[in-house]
Amino acid sequence: MDEQELAIRCARGDGAARRELYETYGSRLLALCRRYASDSAEAEDLMQDAFVKIFRVIGRFRWTRPSSLYSWMARVTLNLAFDSAKKRRRLARELADVESLSALPADEPGYDEAASVPLDVLQAMIASLPEGYRTVFNLYCIEELSHKEIAALLGIKERSSSASLARARASLARSIRQFLNGEGPFFVRGTFPKMKQ
């Protein structure tokens, strides 16, 4: 069943189509929820809430290109994840505290160097960023939202979003560089091979 037909049948309330939608996209949406939830239980909860909302509003989805269904579902989920005013205020407050992350320029790694870092190390590096910076980094680099979209989603200014991204990138680049040099908190000697080439 292609995306369009799946969406139409879900909008009609077809239980089998809904299940197929869940099984096709559930795993990716759960991964997305984990990036913005504080723990796995909250992520699971968020994903279930997202599916309830998706099933309710899927009649409004308009197919434009391949994979637009997932993009739309991701957007619904992100809106749900950040629709709490309390959460948005906390993130905005954290991003206003510019001292929490160094703005010093970093020696950024290349594509291949970054690709050689083990996944769990990368995840640990991203998780170590302050929540606001981590959120902006994930939204821009992983979800590929523009600064305008991030600003609208988080209730911050576009300039604040781009400044936060620069600091998050610099911090992450430093961590990757340190790891590649066999240094820093993410490198445990003997656990990971030295990646420096």
């Binding site: 795993s27 279930q48 599916f51 690709a115 996944l119």
Partner: protein, 406 residues
């Protein structure tokens, strides 16, 4: 989401992060399904409340309820029918609380003729049993005395309400003149919950479905006999003769146990009771209900929720029709049509006919508003295209609702 990144190290990070598959928990879909159902129920409940509350409010505080003015019509009729004009009360009486009421609205007669609004008057000004204000009995006996002969006049049968002969035949509102309280139609808003008497449980359970299955039999050799000696070469005699049967594809029917859609069979409806006598009333209306039903579509069993709209026609017998607490019994028929299904593809479903018996009770909670409950025993008279336990077994449902007197 239209920004384009250069192929830099963050792309590598993105690819690594997105490559990480997250396994869904086995109970995840059940939880989502449960939440979807709950959310839909809440939404529908909210919608129903949003529709019903204004109706209830309108019925409770409707203008005709508020404007319970004394009926003006009976007085002139009294004058015409008796041929005598009752004298106006003395001017001294008109200075009392009833002075605002015009003489033509002053109605000597049974207490129940006097509208409810009089209950708000001071005690001294309230009418006595003969319809005359208490403080008028002594000061102006002529009013009652002169009016009373007209009640027993030759034409008094034209207005039995004024004679007090019929205890129930008393109009209460101007627009309702001539209709008794029991003759007014009652608008009943109903909510039903249904459950099966026997068979499978209401939410869940398995039902057998016959599906056609395509099977392919592998090609094989079969023995058809033994070879016999032919002429000069007897060596092959007695050998088995085998024939190769090529592979064959055929359809066979198979019975599969299919779960019923986990939906609570629920019905809501609106109906109108039309009294035909003191104890009997006809009821009709429009019902919506959802029931689980299974079917086979493209040789695949499917569990559906079938949504029906139906029109019931019932007759009810009311016991103690005027009391606060009433008991009733009834019987009727209902015709239903499935208009749409959820969870699969619809089938051509015929009109479904069912007969029912019921007994119940209602209680008046506010003037003109009653709550009722009635267990109903129903039996379908024909079978649905969807496989279910409802049209094969008699089932009991519980009707609960509220009725409003129009």
């Amino acid at each position: 989401m239209k920004h384009v990144t250069n192929k830099d190290w963050t792309d590598a990070v993105r690819e690594r992060i997105l490559s990480d598959g997250t396994a869904l928990s086995s109970a995840g879909w059940a939880a989502v399904e449960r939440r979807v159902r709950r959310s839909a129920a809440l939404r529908h409940g909210g919608l129903a409340a949003a529709v019903l509350l204004p109706v209830i409010a309108l019925l409770l505080w409707s203008p005709w309820r508020q404007a319970a003015t004394p009926p003006a019509a009976p007085a002139p009729r009294l004058a015409e029918s008796s041929g005598s004009v009752p004298p106006e009360p003395p001017a001294s009486l008109r200075s009392g609380p009833l002075a605002a009421t015009s003489p033509s609205n002053f109605i000597p007669g049974p207490a129940s003729v006097i509208p409810d609004v009089i209950g708000d008057l001071p005690l001294a000004a309230r009418p006595a049993d003969n319809g005359v204000p208490a403080d008028m009995d002594e000061t102006a006996p002529s009013v009652a005395e002169e009016a009373s002969p007209s009640f027993s006049g030759a034409d008094s049968h034209h207005s039995p309400a004024l004679t007090g002969e019929a205890e129930e035949g008393i109009p209460i509102r101007a627009w309702d003149e001539g209709k008794t309280a029991r003759q007014r139609p009652r608008l009943a808003l109903r909510v039903h919950a249904a459950t099966a008497v026997r068979g499978v449980s209401v939410a869940g359970g398995m039902l057998p479905l016959t599906v056609m299955k395509q099977i392919t039999e592998e090609g094989h050799w079969i023995e058809v006999g033994s070879a016999v000696s032919t002429g000069d070469d007897p060596s092959g005699a007695g050998d088995k003769v085998m024939v190769y049967v090529p592979s064959e594809t055929k359809w066979v029917s198979e019975t599969v146990q299919t779960p019923q859609a986990p939906v609570f069979p629920m019905a809501v409806g609106i109906s109108l009771d039309v009294p035909i006598s003191r104890h009997w009333a006809l009821t009709t209306g429009l019902d919506y209900c959802q029931r689980p039903g299974n079917s086979v579509y493209n040789n695949q069993p499917q569990s559906l929720v079938v949504h029906y709209f139906g029109v019931p026609v019932e007759i009810h017998c009311l016991f103690w029709p005027e009391s606060r607490f009433r008991v009733f019994a009834g019987a009727g028929v209902k015709v239903e049509k499935s208009l749409f299904v959820t969870g699969g593809e619809p089938l051509q479903d015929p009109f479904l006919f069912s007969a029912n018996l019921q007994a119940g009770a209602d209680v008046r909670i506010l003037p003109g508003i009653r709550l009722y409950v009635a267990p109903v025993l129903s039996q379908f008279l024909n079978k649905s295209a969807y496989n279910n336990t409802w049209d094969t077994n008699p089932h009991v449902s519980l009707r609960m609702g509220m009725s409003f007197e129009l």
